[in-house]
Amino acid sequence: MNTLLVLPVIVPIGAAAFIWLFNSRPRIQHALVLLTVAATLAVACLILRQTAAGDVHSTQIGHWPAPYGITFIVDGFSTLMLLISTLIGGMAALFSIGDTADRRHAGYFPLFFILLGGVNGAFLTGDLFNLYVWFEVLLMASFVLMALGGQRTQIEGAVKYVMLNLAGSTLLLAGIGIIYGLTGTLNMADLAAKLAGVSNAGRVNAAAMLLLAAFCIKSAIFPFFFWLPASYHTPPPAVAALFAGLLTKVGIYALVRMFTLVFVADTAATFKLLRILAGLTMVSGVLGALIQKDMRRLFAFLIVSEIGFVLMGIGFRTERALTGTIFFLMHMAVVKSTLFLMTGVIEHWKGTVRLDRLGSLFEDHPAFGYLFLGPVFALAGLPPLSGFWGKYVLVQAGLIEKYYLLVGVALAVSLTTLWVVARIWMEAFWRPACAPKRRADAPLGLLRIGPIVVLAAVTFLLGLWAEPFHAQALQAAGQLLHPSAYMQAVLGGP
């Protein structure tokens, strides 16, 4: 048994228990947080070392052979997601130590790491029902984190969030039940093997729609994204950054996994549906962002729009398109987390994140301004920033496959996004301040600046030194489209 594969789940959840014990001893608690962050990052790097060359590793929990027990498995795609999630989780945790507002509540750090463990579990599991369980873990943890502040808006957002996501869980469970009824198995690789022999895929696809609807809710795809803009602006910045970086990605991850591994027969209709949803998602997201005044709400809508881009690549279903999708996922996770953390800093300085009340940030904090420029223009896919590579590869894949309409829509959305982000820059950074209202200038501290700088550096790196990331994404996309290594790692045999 390859114990390493369960550590990304066990370490944060186990650590959460210890951290809970030291609720009244903040110093020890913070030391434990730092230790956990370092440990999870180290584990993720060790896993990368195993899979970077293109290997797929699996482990059967309790030595029960697949498909009877639960399989944990890493391939290129899950490794990349794991790396991104631990990086973002770690940086957000550090930021929370620096930001006193975030960690007032007793359960904050335990919940934080349980959420991270749940996310990692979803990336690692090779079992459909186990995936559902991790979804529940992260749903519950994120709900409580969101409601922890107890303010009216927070509770309101959290209620919408949890209700809609529970609807998603219901759909997911129903879908899993029906698929189990059809195939008698829950192991994804086994499902793939068994469904490959089924002639009438229509019924399977109908059941797959239940799963798709559930994943659409989790990843905020049109028309299921309501919960995201309703809730993301309410929690403290570190929590929002964690959500922005991780939650929707888990849904998309599951969607990619199921629709490249399992539901691959009779794909004409299902993938057409994915492309339609992709177009509508990116358009409705960017239109929503266009009229927002609250910077966090604006970024929340832009998450929706970017999810549309990711989904588009899945809908194209070629190696190149999936490469674009994976690269885009990495980009948007890091960039969005960076920006949500940055809104925390802006709020610290100016007491607000509303565009109509902000101003002269560039004059007051030029270095921060330059740091902000990178991620924010990366959102619009301007080269040579991180957003460009994903966008370019997706556009190229779409044009090669002759999906002209959708590519046209994507480019129009990209232009509108540029308008949105340029507006942020102009109103918050360039425009002279409307009212010189400034909070007492408490120093930010290394623990808040550090994570932002690290994440911003990663976004610059993704853009300027894209090759290694692109190569990993390409390899992962190849594994997704030709899952023989994956199947073999789970089921054995040739």
Partner: protein, 762 residues
């Protein structure tokens, strides 16, 4: 590698500007200005020492090979012309900025932006890889955005910056699509290879699409109508930026692109039509509008648009003379336009206004600036002996050599050039001559403000005397590149008296006449504000915002109940699409097994309870009714011999009913305030979702394809897992990871309750 280093080092230097200013203080601008001049020197040395007199050089550096993007640079005559202009004029602009912005606290920032801008421009014109061209293209957009909004305090400046960014990005994205289509059609992502495959591409079914997309990019960047509005507005930027933007950088990007793809796409009817029509219209209208301006920078901006239109049209004609004319005039324009902007800025600095109606006679105070302005105006209007004249005559000859009906171009060119000549004198000469007119007492200027324009102005005349210097070094090579084959070239001021000379004389005469009546034309135009693309741009943005508001209000209404309806309805819709439409099912003939009487009874009770749960207004009753449904399910589990599940379900139901009763007891009665229509809608959605789920479930167990894995559990539970209760073994052994997750969920719930409870206490 070295070449890439020379081009890219500008980006790195941009980050070093601020430290340089800290260390060197006032000397920093001198040092930084050395950079473009040394680049110029490098390019010239590289070019003159090239191994093949006619061939091009390619220098490659890897970047993202996996995505097929690298930093390959193609150095041929065409890119040399542009690189020389960009670095040479860039150097002069750097020097000029030093004194123009001498008291600006953010001069270091200005130089950083300018360095990025210049380096991006250099990369653009040297890029061999089509995608790297796009990368540099957008880098010029970003840096020009920052430069135009360099003094962002006014709404106008911010608006102009945004407008430039959006308009050029619109074209940039179109161009990206066009480049990919071109590359896929020609099976190469390198211009150096695509140039060889013009025939294949011209015959390709995607030819028109690729060309039109690429031209959209070129037209937005080069401010062709109707995308031109961003350029006059961009003059809110500091004058050195305008001088650079209008002459060598940014707007010349579009011209470069058209020239670069000319051997690939040129020679077809679409090529000719698109370029001559758009370019020609832009040329004439912008020249006419230019003369109606009173702000010297605005006037020059329109004349830039006009000249760019002329260059586009000439490249569209594409014959030998046209290509030569385009290259020579491009060179001439860059020299005189940067000069005129610099003199305009000097006037603004010295006299405190750019309003041409309030300026005159400044030549006595600013003789050297006046000299530069007058020389540039000569070149612009085509007075001998300037390089502008040589270019203009070549362009006339290109029109005269065109096919019969296309000769109409000559008339258009003559008309437009008359206006341009009048503009040249109004902007470059009039402020310096005549009676002294100036709102502020003109003061002396710092040296670089006259030196930089004077160098460029003198060059424009000197090269008119001796055009062979630039012809031999790179203009001829450039014309060959654009034509796609070697063309003869012999530049000289005087080729004997011919039609072109006659046309030049006519141009000057007409220009003089227009100069005479220009104030009347200005007043006429000022009295008639017209709806131009600038206003349409604003309307388009506000329409888009309106749509955004509407769609967001519809989708993101804020009501949870509406979200829920959409979620369920769309999910059911997706399932039924696959069930009925997309993949028509052959329903398995499932023999309906009629339920027994007791099953009927339990089923009816459950259904009645469901209706009751909805209809009642008392929460408690509603919960109890739900409980009845739960117990009904439990009974079914018992009937179908799943006692373990039944026990679990029984416990859960009992527990949740008790819990609900405890919690809900204190809450007020439910009041259903929704109107009947809403309730009917909700009922319909609910029934539809139920029906779809029922269909799905009914079909599924009857087509079970494989035996269940649970049979394995039954086999090995005792032998391998040593447990007699299979459910227990599954929970704690076979699927222990699920249990870990579920325990965690419970822990999270407990933490949540505890934390919120503690909060209440505090």
């Amino acid at each position: 590698m070295i070449f890439a280093g020379v081009i890219l080092s500008g980006f790195f230097l941009a980050f070093l500007v601020a430290p340089l200013f800290k260390v060197l203080g006032k000397a920093a601008p001198w040092v930084i200005s050395l950079f473009p001049f040394s680049q110029l020197l490098f390019f010239l040395m590289l070019w003159t020492n090239r191994p093949h007199a006619t061939g091009e050089l390619v220098a490659c550096t890897q970047w993202v090979p996996g995505a097929g993007v690298d930093l390959c640079f193609l150095i041929d005559g065409l890119s040399m012309v542009f690189m020389v202009l960009i670095s040479g004029i860039g150097g002069c602009v750097f020097l000029y900025s030093k004194d123009y912005l001498h008291d600006d606290p953010h001069l270091d920032r200005f130089y950083s932006y300018l360095l990025v801008f210049m380096s991006a421009m250099l990369g653009l014109v040297a890029a061999d890889n089509v995608i790297s061209l796009y990368v540099f293209w957008e880098l010029t957009s970003i840096s020009s955005f920052l430069l135009i909004g360099f003094h962002p305090d006014t709404p106008e400046a911010r608006r102009a910056a945004l407008q430039a960014l959006l308009v050029t990005n619109l074209g940039g994205l179109a161009m990206l699509a066009g480049l990919v289509i071109l590359a896929e059609a020609g099976d190469s992502y390198y211009f150096s290879e695509l140039i060889q495959r013009g025939d294949v591409i011209r015959a390709h079914p995607h030819y028109s699409a690729a060309l039109l997309l690429l031209l959209t990019g070129a037209f937005t960047k080069s401010a062709q109508m109707p995308f031109h509005m961003w350029l006059p507005n961009a003059m809110v930027a500091p004058t050195p930026v305008s001088a650079y933007l209008h002459s060598a950088a940014m707007v010349k990007g579009g011209i470069y692109l058209v020239a670069r793809i000319s051997p690939i796409f040129g020679g077809t009817a679409l090529w000719f039509g698109a370029l001559t029509i758009v370019g020609g219209i832009t040329f004439v209208i912008a020249a006419v509008l230019g003369l109606a301006q009173r702000d010297v920078k605005r006037m020059l901006a329109y004349s830039t648009i006009s000249v760019l239109g002329m260059l586009m049209a000439v490249l569209g004609i594409g014959n030998e003379k046209a290509v030569q004319g385009a290259m020579v005039y491009l060179f001439a324009h860059a020299l005189y336009k940067s000069t005129l902007f610099m003199t305009g800025g000097a006037i603004d600095h010295a006299a405190g206004t750019r309003d041409l109606t309030r300026l005159g006679g400044l030549g006595r105070m600013l003789p050297l600036v006046a000299g530069a302005g007058i020389l540039a105006a000569f070149s612009k209007s085509g007075v001998p002996p300037t390089v502008g004249l040589i270019g203009k005559e070549l362009i006339y000859e290109a029109g005269l050599h065109a096919h019969s009906a296309q000769k109409v171009i000559v008339a258009g060119a003559l008309f437009g050039n008359m206006f341009l000549a009048a503009v040249a004198w109004a902007a470059g000469i009039r402020p310096f001559v005549g009676r002294l007119q100036s709102p502020e007492a003109p003061h002396a200027l710092k040296p670089m403000m006259w030196f930089a324009p004077l160098v460029l102005g003198v060059l424009g005349v000197a090269l008119g005397w001796a055009p062979e210097i630039v012809e031999k070094t790179f203009l001829h090579a450039a014309a060959n590149t654009v034509s796609g084959h070697p063309v003869p070239m012999d530049l000289a001021l005087w080729h004997g008296f011919n039609t072109a000379v006659l046309l030049s004389i006519l141009t000057l005469a007409g220009g003089g006449l227009l100069f005479w009546v220009r104030h009347r034309w200005r007043r006429f135009a000022e009295a008639r504000p017209w709806v131009g693309p600038d206003i349409l741009y604003d309307r388009l943005l506000s329409v888009l915002k309106g749509i955004a508001r509407l769609s967001t209000r519809l989708l993101q209404s804020g009501y949870l109940r509406q979200y829920m309806i959409l979620v369920w309805a769309v999910s059911a819709g997706m399932v039924s699409w696959m069930l009925f439409d997309a993949a028509p099912l052959s329903w398995p003939a499932f023999a309906p097994v009629l339920p027994h009487l007791h099953e009927w009874v339990i089923g009816s009770v459950m259904m009645a309870a469901a209706v009751f749960a909805i209809a009642t207004t008392q929460r408690l009753v509603s919960i109890l009714a739900l409980g009845v449904i739960g117990f009904g399910v439990t009974l079914f589990f018992v009937l179908y011999s799943a006692p373990d599940l039944a026990i679990t379900q029984f416990l859960v139901e009992t527990f949740s009913v008790i819990l609900f009763v405890l919690v809900l007891y204190r809450l007020p009665e439910l009041k259903d305030r929704s109107p009947v229509a809403t309730r009917v809608r909700d009922a319909l959605v609910a029934l539809a979702v139920g029906a779809v789920m029922t269909l799905l479930v009914l079909g599924s167990p009857s087509v079970q394809y494989y035996p269940k894995i649970s049979e394995y559990f039954a086999q090995v539970a005792v032998s391998a897992a040593h447990g007699h209760n299979i459910v227990n073994v599954i929970l704690v052994d076979f699927r222990v990871m699920d249990t870990l997750g579920e325990i965690t969920v419970l822990a999270v719930a407990a933490i949540g309750v505890y934390s919120l409870w503690r909060r209440e206490d505090a």
